[in-house]
């Protein structure tokens, strides 16, 4: 596979996953904002996805619609949803011969959907949940299309590498946002609702209820989000799958490139697997997330140098 194509597949998958993750974070935060007695504060979301100065954040942090406009529809915001989808499509457009026609059609219609005046009307003046649900549904259809139509070759491996790498980063970012909002004090009674919202935004609330018999406890929530190998959004699940899909590329790689990336993936996996951490302390989790995120960025860097360098 061409290095340029591999890079485009990888980034297309990252933008798609980022879109899906961002939508879920926004949806959960928006639901939370409607559930609050006081004005909901969007500061951390804006700091992460708004690309705004502190003073500009201050101007809109209590206005849910303005926040959604900025994070979902504003083309001047590098991290906005519309820009993510546009970039996913631009990448897909340049590799149409390496992805299936169905996938291209679906991604193309996703691009047209986010630009549909109906969606912006819902977000700006009507019910934003309707718009977000339509977009999430489209995102899920896209994953289904990939699953059913994409051949299990090199392109699919790069696609999954991008997808799981981004998913882990989003999980860590969403967790970090929540930790910051509760000032890293996860054991307080008041921290339980934000933790519950975090699980919602990672599609993990039902799974948590089943496993914990309804008892909300900060350290077990954190355990699920970081270490649960059966939870599709956990950091551990993602690194395990990165490892799995990367191993499939051995025959399609030069041994030198393979070994270099394999080292970074192994390092990240082991750092997570064998860490000794007390999950009842928010500051410990914060520290672990910083280390793990660095490991993931190094994997991305290594892939870029050894597989996409052209």
């Amino acid at each position: 596979m061409l290095s340029r194509v591999a890079e485009s597949v990888f980034w297309m998958a990252r933008y798609m996953e980022r879109t899906n993750g961002l939508l879920r974070v926004l949806r959960t935060n928006y639901v939370a904002s409607q559930d609050e007695m006081k004005k909901y504060n969007w500061t951390t979301v804006l700091e992460t996805f708004g690309c705004l100065s502190d003073s500009d954040i201050g101007k809109i942090q209590n206005d849910s619609r303005l926040v959604l406009k900025r994070v979902m529809l504003d083309k001047d915001n590098e991290s906005s949803l519309i820009n993510n989808i546009t970039r996913a499509r631009e990448n897909a457009k340049s590799i149409q011969d390496n992805i299936t026609k169905e996938m291209w059609h679906h991604l193309n219609s996703y691009y047209h959907l986010i630009r549909d005046p109906y969606i912006s009307e819902m977000i700006l003046n009507e019910d934003p949940i309707t718009a977000m649900d339509a977009l999430i549904k489209h995102s899920l259809f896209l994953y289904g299309t990939i699953e059913i139509t994409m051949p299990r070759g090199e392109a699919n491996n790069f696609l999954n590498l991008g997808r799981f790498l981004e998913r882990a980063i989003i999980t860590m970012e969403a967790t970090e946002i929540m930790l910051k909002e509760i000032n890293y004090e996860i054991n307080l009674e008041s921290s339980i609702p934000p933790l519950r919202y975090l699980l919602y935004s990672l599609s993990g609330y039902e799974a948590y209820l089943r496993n914990s018999k309804g008892v909300a406890e900060a350290s077990s929530i954190m355990n699920q989000i970081i270490f649960d190998e059966n939870f599709a959004h956990s950091v551990m699940y993602c690194i395990t799958h990165i490892n799995r899909y990367f191993r499939r590329m051995k025959t399609a790689s030069t041994s030198e490139s393979f070994e270099k990336v394999e080292f970074n993936i192994g390092k990240a996996l082991n750092n997570l697997k064998y860490v000794n951490i007390d999950l009842s302390q928010g500051s410990n989790i914060h520290q672990l997330l910083i280390t793990t995120r660095t490991d993931f960025y190094q994997i991305a860097q290594s892939l870029s140098t050894n597989y996409f360098g052209y």
Binding site: R4, E90, S94, Q96, H105, S109, T254, S257, Y307
Partner: protein
């Protein structure tokens, strides 16, 4: 003449050929189609029109217009009523194009080697050497199987009596074939069963025929040659076509930055290192293809590609330097080329063409400018053109000045009334002017011409300009079986 209801408002001009109607009524080939659409209400036709637009948009069959850093997706306008060509007419077109391509290929070999045609005085040397698309770099370069124009698009028009004329030859990187394929696929969606009922010849074998030729052009010592399609990139207006063809042929779509030349061999950069490339179907123009030989500021090409080609280490399709054969001033000599090289009479006629570097021609054209189309010899896409009966006095004077400054750069042709074909516009059938671009594939086993082509249509009432860049659209083109 007893016409169906749907054609009551279809008013054709007496001085031109209409594809649908003759003096006797609906032409035979169109009868089934007229019967079908007659049963449809205008609402149903409008909803088919709408469906076609949605399908083009949803399938991403679009080109992007960039303004203010924002890309706007546009579709190439499509008219839902097919253009129909009878089998007997197609036989003439096919044999005419085959004959023409043979002659043009021999001309290209001749002009870049012994130049018999110049020495025998049929084509003036000054005409060839003043052509900016004549590449001195191609002189004495042997190309595989002596084939230069592997993929050609020959633009045809019909005159008042229904006879086909060649308007121009496109021998460099002709585009539009993906629209031929997509238009057919959209027609099957909006008019189910109509194509099998009418015995329409298929067009879908085009990518298979093209790939067969591309593989056959590779060095025979390779059992599994690598063929790639070289595109200028995602911002090119024909990018959709490049990606469609690469996908349909199962070959890599590469950009210049994906290729590298080492030791006069071409490689592509893959995740497993460099992989040798044997055949390049390029959609990048000559001047951009190798910055070391041609334009040094080009980043679309591959440094060193020319020498790899010259040494025979890679095949480039179409060959470089073909522009000299589709130059609009050289076009006038094609009938003579056919007689000279093949000893045959041309099957398809040329539109009479005046070379404006000849003083007598110039005087005649200046005196009759309102009846002439004046074209720049090396422009395409409907640019650099003046249509006499539509031009203002000032525009004519500007062209006269430009012609006097550089007469070699212009030719003139009498205004030909392109034939009209029914289009569904504003809720009714209206005649609009059309041309036809069939696509021919020239490979080691001979010339294949897919039965059909791209019918381009001037959607503006009264307009003769069919180019997409000037508001033109397209139609599905049916060639009927016997």
């Amino acid at each position: 003449m007893n016409l169906p209801e749907i054609l009551k408002s279809y008013h054709i001009q007496p001085d031109l050929w209409d594809e649908l109607l003759s003096n006797e009524g609906v032409r035979t080939g169109y009868k089934n189609v007229v019967e079908t659409i007659e049963k449809l209400s205008f609402e149903e036709l409008s909803s088919k029109d709408e469906l076609a637009k949605k399908l083009f948009m949803a399938q991403g069959i679009t080109f992007t217009v960039y303004s203010d850093n924002e890309g706007v997706e546009k579709i190439f306008p499509f008219d839902i009523i097919p253009r129909i060509i009878e089998n007997a007419e197609w036989q003439i077109i096919e044999s005419g194009i085959r004959q023409r391509l043979k002659a043009l290929n021999i001309f290209l070999k001749d002009v870049y080697h012994q130049q018999f045609i110049i020495k025998d005085g049929l084509v003036p040397a000054s005409l060839i050497y003043s052509c900016p698309l004549f590449l001195r770099e191609m002189v004495n370069v042997d190309v595989p199987f002596d084939i230069y124009s592997h993929i050609s698009g020959i633009d045809l028009i019909r005159d008042l009596d229904g006879q086909f004329f060649v308007l121009e030859d496109n021998l460099r990187t002709p585009s539009g074939v993906s629209y031929m394929l997509e238009n057919r696929s959209i027609t099957t969606r909006i008019f189910p069963n109509l194509i099998p009922q009418n015995n329409v010849k298929p067009v879908k074998e085009y990518p298979t025929l093209l790939l067969k030729n591309l593989l056959a052009l590779a060095n025979k010592q390779h059992s599994n040659p690598t063929v790639v399609l070289l595109t200028p990139g995602v911002y090119n207006s024909a990018y959709f076509e490049h990606s469609t063809l690469a996908r349909l042929m199962g070959i890599e779509l590469v950009e210049g930055r994906d290729l590298v030349v080492e030791n006069h061999h071409v490689f592509m950069k893959t995740t497993k290192g460099l992989q040798k490339v044997d055949v390049i179907y390029r959609r990048v123009d000559d001047e951009f293809i190798d910055p070391l030989t041609f334009r040094p500021d080009s980043i679309l090409g591959v440094p060193g590609l020319y020498w790899a080609y010259r040494k025979g280490n890679v095949t480039i399709v179409n060959a470089m330097g073909n522009g000299v054969a589709d130059d609009k001033a050289v076009y006038a000599y094609v009938p003579e080329m056919i007689r000279y090289y093949l000893n045959e009479e041309p099957i398809l006629k040329n539109v009479p063409t005046y070379d404006l570097s000849v003083p007598e021609n110039r005087s005649f054209v200046f005196a009759n400018m309102s009846n002439m189309v004046i074209k720049k010899t090396n422009e395409s896409g409907g640019y650099g053109m003046l249509i006499g009966n539509k031009a203002t006095e000032q525009e004519m004077n500007e062209f006269k000045t430009a012609i006097l400054e550089d007469p070699r750069n212009f030719i003139a042709q009498p205004i030909i009334n392109l034939s009209s074909s029914p289009c569904y516009i504003d809720g009714k059938l209206q005649p609009r002017r059309v041309d036809l671009r069939p696509f021919a594939l020239y490979g080691p086993d001979g010339i294949d011409i897919v039965a059909g082509g791209l019918t381009r249509v001037a959607l503006k009432e009264g307009s003769l300009v069919v180019n997409s860049s000037q508001g033109g659209g397209s139609k599905d083109t049916w060639v009927l079986s016997k």
